[in-house]
């Protein structure tokens, strides 16, 4: 194995989950996400001298996001519109089956709500809420000023709140 490869693997592989999570949410498809992440990691490997000590994570996230866009532009791509139907196993603490079922259906519903957010709001939300990126890092990923990050994030949250919390209140009535 070359030093270059060893160096890259040490640098980028710790962020494989973050790359996969972003690709899953942006592509909304487990099979596409696999291909996108593979594509992104190879692209990253070919150009990782460019990182120049900057934070690796936002750089890698930017490549994943670009790959997602390239992927979406392909005419004959596979698409299993999952819309949050498949998700990671939730660790259930509820002992009884009914509570577990409710929890599972809530999870499906929230994931579906996030999945239908417009692209430009979904990515900032995922990066902030799931990947814990700072505004500056998100700005690097989406190649936009911090002000744009802030307004999109606020808009993403307002949209999600309207769709999710509002629906929840309706259910309670």
């Amino acid at each position: 194995m070359t030093d270059r490869r060893r160096q890259f693997e040490a640098l980028a592989l710790p962020h494989l989950d973050a790359a996969y999570n972003l690709a899953r949410w942006l592509s909304r498809s487990p099979t596409d996400a696999d291909d996108i992440v593979q594509d992104a990691m190879v692209r990253a490997f070919r150009s990782f001298e460019q990182v120049r000590g900057e934070d690796v994570r936002p750089w890698l996230m930017r490549i994943v996001r670009n790959c997602c866009h390239d992927w979406a532009a392909r005419p004959h791509r596979r698409r299993d519109v999952a819309l949050g139907a498949h998700g990671p196993e939730l660790v259930s603490e509820e002992p009884d089956a009914e509570a577990q079922a409710i929890r599972a259906s809530e999870a499906r519903r929230l994931r579906a709500t996030i999945a239908i957010l417009p692209d430009e709001f979904r990515d900032v939300l995922i990066l902030r809420e799931m990947e814990d990126l700072s505004y500056r890092e998100i700005a690097e990923v989406i190649q936009a000023p911090i002000g744009t990050v802030m307004s999109r994030l606020a808009r993403a949250r307002a949209l999600l709140k309207d769709k999710w919390i509002a629906e929840e209140n309706r259910d309670l009535r």
């Binding site: 194995m1 070359t2 270059r4 490869r5 890259f8 693997e9 592989l13 494989l16 989950d17 973050a18 790359a19 996969y20 999570n21 899953r24 949410w25 996400a33 696999d34 992440v37 593979q38 990691m41 190879v42 490997f45 070919r46 150009s47 001298e49 120049r52 000590g53 900057e54 949050g84 998700g87 990671p88 939730l90 929890r103 809530e106 999870a107 929230l110 994931r111 996030i114 902030r128 809420e129 799931m130 990947e131 700072s134 505004y135 002000g147 802030m150 307004s151 994030l153 606020a154 949250r157 307002a158 999600l160 709140k161 999710w164 919390i165």
Partner: protein, 265 residues
Amino acid sequence: MTCAELLHSQAFIDGELTGAEADAAERHIAGCADCQAFCEAVAALSDDIHNYAPRYTAPERLKLRVLEAIAAADVTPPPSRRAPTWRRTLGQAVQTARSRAFLGGFGGGVGLSGLAAALVVLAVLPAPPDTLADGVVRAHTEALMSGKTIAVVSSDHHTVKPWFAGKIDVSPPVHDFAAEGFKLTGGRLDRVAGAPAAVVVYQHGLHEIDLFVWADRHQTLPGSATRRGYNAVYWKHQDLDYAAVSDMQASELATFANLVRTTQE
């Protein structure tokens, strides 16, 4: 949700504000119903996302696929860099040999290792002095044009020197010569004729000076060179090669180079 301070309040709960800014935002939220409602909603959403929509984690099969893909990409030179034709051809030959070795079993393996060895030898052949002079000036001007001359910004050598550790296998000398008119401004990683180089960046008036430092590969250095209006001075010290490059006058650059060299005596 029309409060003009909303984005500020959001920045506060996202932990983006510190000190007086954070205090001011906190005071505002306490007295603003809109912002309070927004912040509560954001906190509730955050909890729900955490509970109901946990991160996806990369499956093991994907990790293996990625490792394989990187290994496969490792033998081909990156297409973005314009490698000389013979090197590209050789790269392709190695690839062809690879697939043949794969198809033909162990028999083809000898050809593969032979070619790979040839490639390695060619890759480490020292660059001729001319190429080196071009390479250093090219690296300098490309960095200037991309606006990315500095990856670590600091005038403190205690910050710049340790920054290189772990990023590159050479430890360049880092001194501030502000008193002599050459101010330390930072550092970056770059490449010179295919080899990784540490670059220490200095400012002299409006001129930027790049001090390239890379591991010596027994190549002949040009001494000094002028390329497209840029001057460069080269020297060796112990097992490292040095090149100072700038658009300032050759005599001034020589003064700078001498300053660096005095610290090496």
